[in-house]
């Protein structure tokens, strides 16, 4: 007699749909609380930077958004690989649900980067490796979404867009390592796993709290979008009639 949880149960859209509905509000609440703490740390508690003045406060949004833009792409590409390899419906639906939020964080990273660049470097934009590869990331998200929308049959759309997402995944390490590989206007990383952070503890804390807020926000929004996608794609399934209300 086995009492272990059958994790494959949640690979079925019929089981995932109510689970996502129960979890999403909690992630949304966690995101709101963390964002409030992060904003307070970043805008009120953290002192003015000696070199950059208050312009540096943009990094409390810019860095988490840039991390999320890459992280969400990796997660999306992962689900695309699962969808291709195991022909898993739910994996493809999750990838589909991740793309708009990934594109949104990429746009935020580019926008806040431009507004940080102007007072700090004297220019909103430069065609350096970091910024150009981040712009390519935005176009990869758009391309993935556009390709999906262009194909009527969802299963064919899953396969074609998954191949695109996986090929485009090569861009993520290029973004991440661009500041090391090329001589870029964009500075090197202030935070890395291999060395002590080159910033004050309070600034680092604020940035990490905002990063967790962005994570939980993304999870909440993606779960809700995944539910809509499940309803749209499983409309003919018998279980839908009981849960849709």
């Amino acid at each position: 007699m086995s009492t272990s949880i059958n994790w494959f149960k949640f690979a079925s859209p019929a089981s995932f749909f109510p689970l996502a509905g129960r979890l999403a509000p909690w992630f949304a609440i966690a995101a709101a609380v963390l964002a409030a703490i992060g904003l307070w740390l970043g805008l009120v508690v953290a002192p003015t930077d000696a070199q950059q003045g208050d312009a540096y406060r943009i990094i409390f949004i810019h860095v988490p958004a840039a991390w999320m833009s890459m992280f969400l792409y990796v997660v999306m590409a992962f689900w695309c690989a699962i969808s291709l390899g195991f022909n898993a419906r739910l994996a493809a639906m999750l990838a589909q649900a991740l793309a708009p939020t990934g594109a949104l964080f990429t746009a935020i990273a580019l926008w806040t980067g431009a507004l940080w660049g102007k007072p700090t470097w004297g220019t909103y934009w430069a065609w350096d490796a970091r910024m150009t590869s981040e712009l390519i990331l935005l176009f990869l998200y758009f391309g993935y979404i556009a390709l999906r929308n262009a194909i009527d049959d969802p299963r064919r759309a899953d396969r074609a867009s998954s191949v695109l997402a996986l090929v485009g995944a090569v861009n993520v390490p290029i973004i991440y390592f661009s500041v090391k590989w090329w001589n870029t206007l964009h500075q090197g990383s202030s935070v890395s796993l291999s060395s002590a952070p080159k910033m004050a503890m309070i600034m680092l804390t604020g940035m990490l709290v905002m990063t967790f807020a962005a994570w939980f926000y993304s999870i909440a929004v993606v779960l809700v979008r995944a539910r809509a996608i499940i309803l749209d794609r499983e409309r003919g399934a018998p279980w839908i009639a009981g849960t849709a209300r």
């Binding site: 805008l43 208050d54 312009a55 949104l104 806040t112 102007k118 979008r225 309803l231 839908i240 849709a244």
Partner: protein, 53 residues
């Protein structure tokens, strides 16, 4: 930071700092509203499809 106008001025970088924070807040708000509307629309369509059967 002593008062509200100092806080809003952000040491002369107010345009850049608030331009970043407000646009981000706006974009996230738009996504939240859009995704909720999308779920509501999908629920409605699924319910109608269920009745039609």
């Amino acid at each position: 930071m002593t008062n509200v106008s100092d806080f809003l001025a952000m040491g002369g970088y107010g345009f850049y700092v608030w331009g970043s924070y407000l646009v981000t807040a706006l974009l996230l708000a738009v996504e939240i509203v859009a995704v909720r509307q999308r779920l509501a629309a999908s629920r409605k369509a699924a319910a109608e499809a269920g009745r039609a059967r």
